[in-house]
């Protein structure tokens, strides 16, 4: 729409007059006609190529090499790295933990953010304050957030202190040291970290819903739940697609919240692919580390892309 206003046909009368006096009037091509608009995309394309595509390609190569700190020679070794990681019972547990972690984060984050967005939808002074408060964790470094929560969730930390105050007896749960609670605990921290951002996206989506639609539904007798389920949630589809895609990608690449809180433990209950990658790297096994890194990339592409395509299709259908 905006491009048509820039064409001579849509110009103001005086502009047309100036052009009519020009013996060789230059006509700006529209993007559809293949003008020089692609130049604007060049910086982005170069950045993506240098900082994303190239490392990805190189990493893919190293995943099939015997690169290590022990030798200065790097040779092709086929799928040996994957075989070694499977043999050492690192690969599949890490894939399983990563997927489980991503699902937990997705569920926690969507539930919290959507609830918050509905609660803080109207722009009042108090809601603005709360929106800002919930956005603060987004601005905190993930490592700092991890260290803060590690202290909060320690056996003698404030969370157990508060629970001991509220409940009978003394609560000494090792939230980050117990195999049953460690993964949900770190997933909750990740969700806490990003919920503020996801909430804002949902609020923007809610604001875009025409008021007339909701008023008409109310007049037709739709209650609050029906309005949410039949109108708001469906109209939020684009925001939902964006939020799910971003959350999933971030959760599958999880490292920075887990490293300071559990370091992958207890045992390997929170050892996601990136944590396992770091452990391999720290032992100078760069080939296996690259293999794990490649697995993360493949996992993100294989899960996020079809999901986004499916959700986009659903949006169009609605």
């Amino acid at each position: 729409m905006a491009s048509t206003t820039l064409t001579p046909e849509a110009g103001a009368p005086e502009q047309t007059a100036v052009r009519s006096s020009d013996p060789t009037p230059r006509r700006r091509k529209s993007p559809r006609e293949g003008g020089h608009w692609p130049w604007f995309a060049l910086p982005a394309v170069v950045l993506v190529a240098v900082f994303f595509a190239l490392p990805f390609l190189l990493n893919a190569g190293f995943a099939f090499s015997d690169w290590s700190g022990f030798s200065d020679e790097i040779g092709f070794n086929g799928i040996d790295n994957f075989r070694t990681l499977i043999d050492q019972e690192i690969f599949w547990p890490a894939v399983r933990t990563t997927l489980l972690y991503a699902v937990c984060v997705l569920v926690f984050e969507m539930a919290v953010s959507l609830t918050l967005a509905l609660a803080l939808e109207s722009t009042t002074r108090i809601n603005t304050i709360f929106r800002s408060l919930f956005f603060i964790p987004v601005l905190i470094s993930p490592l700092a957030a991890g260290y803060i929560w590690k202290g909060m969730l320690a056996t003698n930390g404030p969370i157990n202190g508060m629970l001991s105050f509220l409940l009978p007896g003394t609560v000494e749960t090792a939230w980050l040291g117990d195999p049953t609670t460690a993964l949900p605990a770190v997933a909750l921290i990740e969700a806490w970290k990003w919920s503020g951002l996801i909430t804002l996206v949902y609020i923007a989506g809610l604001k875009a819903i025409p008021k007339e639609l909701l008023e008409a539904a109310t007049i037709d007798g739709a209650n609050a739940w029906s309005r949410f389920w039949r109108i708001k949630l469906r109209m939020l589809a684009p925001a939902l697609t964006f939020n799910v895609a971003v959350t999933l990608a971030v959760a599958l690449m999880a490292y920075d919240v887990i490293a300071p809180t559990t370091g992958g433990g207890p045992g390997d209950h929170t050892t996601t692919l990136n944590i396992a990658m770091r452990l391999q790297w720290g032992q100078s096994f760069f080939g296996p580390a690259s293999a794990l890194s490649l697995t993360v990339a493949v996992l993100v592409i294989a899960s996020a892309v079809p999901l986004v395509m499916w959700m986009r299709k659903k949006e169009v259908a609605q």
Partner: protein, 449 residues
């Protein structure tokens, strides 16, 4: 758009090709020679004003930092000290190292395990023949030396591993003689559980990762006199998962201690700082640690070293018989990476000669540390606890930890953490670790693999 696609693809291929050439090229030219070809008293030819870089551990004590400043003042050589954080020290250093970046002087672990990960033959200067080596007893038989070539300089006293215990808790539990082997340790734990309720017999710190290795290492320390077992493991003549291996037996004892309730309930996630504080405050009876953690105990006691001396004792222990297990300390151990710059290499060698020579005595006096180079007197003012540790080491037998010469055992801490929560059995740890050893030994092209 097609031209743009072509340009991007061309650029990617060019960079990839350049990378492949640099990454895959062998460095035969640097595999031989490169020795400092030095002898005691020879000059390095270092020029004042030369600027060199040191990668060091952020946990370097003040006395060591003063040594760096003294070096600058006495030689006129400018030393830019770049700290690698002590938490994740190995990871950070190796990540930087893997990127191809090189300092002129590198402070890092002198154990052969860690040295091999630096690929010393290709990347480090050979310091064999430097004067300090002959004056350090048999230290370089097990430290900073690969295939008969010494690549490093060690000025710190070895980290001695053992069990630090709270004397009051032992007295309350009626334990007059500290345990000396696995069976006695299990018995001592049961006694503490029965007679000192509320006290954790042994504090473990899975949240800090490395401490969980210490106790199992102690329990197999007596199986490694003269590093014979370590050498056999390294050369593929013995394996961690052999029937009845000291490794598996140590893990079985560890499991027994866990099953008996000897460890704290949050053993898998607790931090070493909490364990040390509990020990000083009498909430914990024992913690298996190394001698460099005495400083942390003093810090936990509010800086009161005398209080620590009164409250804490130390004993050596083994699986069957007592042994002081040690590793050469990463604090104050230096390598000289090859940089190809003659002036900087000369200045870096001057650094090594300074810290092992004319700067050494002043450093030892300031650090109140035990010297490892002959001709330097023991300083005054060393704490009673540190002397107790040193006495155990001197009394012997003092065996280097099995892992000092065996590459690929870095992942054992994760496996021990799994054992703490019942995720694996001792034999599985042995098998998994042995696979990692094989992986590393083959990568390092060690003899016998």
């Amino acid at each position: 758009m097609r031209w743009m696609l072509r340009a991007v693809v061309t650029a990617v291929l060019l960079v990839a090709a350049a990378f492949a050439v640099t990454a895959c090229g062998s460095s035969d030219d640097s595999s031989e020679g490169g020795s400092t070809a030095s002898s005691a008293g020879a000059t390095t030819g270092a020029k004042p004003g030369t600027k060199i870089t040191l990668w060091h551990n952020s946990a370097d004590p003040p006395a060591l930092r003063q040594l760096y400043r003294d070096f600058e003042a006495d030689t006129g050589i400018e030393l830019e000290a770049v700290a690698n954080p002590s938490a994740g020290f190995e990871d950070t250093t190796l990540t930087r190292w893997a990127s191809g970046s090189r300092p002129d002087v590198l402070e890092y672990h002198p154990t052969v395990t860690n040295l091999l990960a630096l690929n010393p033959r290709a990347n480090l200067r050979d310091l064999s023949g430097e004067a300090y080596i002959a004056k350090s007893g048999d230290l370089y038989r097990s430290a900073a030396t690969v295939d008969g070539k010494t690549y490093g300089a060690v000025i710190g006293f070895p980290q001695v591993f053992g069990i630090f215990y709270n004397k009051d808790v032992f007295a309350r539990a009626g334990i007059e003689t500290p345990p000396t082997n696995a069976a006695e340790l299990i018995e001592a734990c049961r006694t503490i559980l029965a007679r000192a309720p509320g006290v954790t017999p042994i504090a473990e710190s899975g949240g800090s990762q490395w401490p969980v290795q210490v106790l199992p290492t102690l329990l197999m320390g007596d199986a490694n006199p003269d590093n014979r077992w370590g050498q056999e493991l390294r050369s593929n003549r013995a394996h961690l998962d052999d029937d009845g291996s000291p490794f598996t037996r140590a893990m079985e004892t560890y499991k027994q201690l866990r099953d008996d309730g000897c460890f704290n309930r949050d053993a898998a996630s607790a931090t070493v700082e909490n364990s040390v504080r509990g020990l000083v405050e009498g909430r914990v009876a024992m913690v298996a640690l190394h001698s460099d953690m005495i400083a942390a105990m003093v810090a936990a006691a509010g800086g009161d070293a005398a209080k620590v001396d009164r409250a804490i004792g130390f004993f050596a222990i083994g699986g069957e018989t007592p042994a002081a297990t040690y590793i050469p300390s990463p604090i104050g151990s230096y390598y000289l990476p090859r940089t190809g710059d003659a002036d900087r290499e000369a200045a870096a060698l001057e650094f090594i000669r300074y810290v092992t020579g004319r700067g050494y005595g002043r450093y030892i006096a300031a650090a109140r540390a035990f010297p490892v180079i002959e001709g330097t007197p023991e300083p005054a003012g060393v704490s009673a606890l540190a002397r107790e540790v040193k006495a155990a080491y001197d009394r012997g037998p003092a065996n280097i930890a099995y892992a000092a010469d065996v590459p690929g055992v870095g992942g054992v801490m994760v496996l021990i953490n799994k054992l703490l929560i019942g995720q694996v059995e001792p034999q599985q740890i042995a098998e998994q670790t042995q696979k990692a050893v094989e992986q590393a030994a083959k990568a390092a092209k060690l003899e016998g693999w």
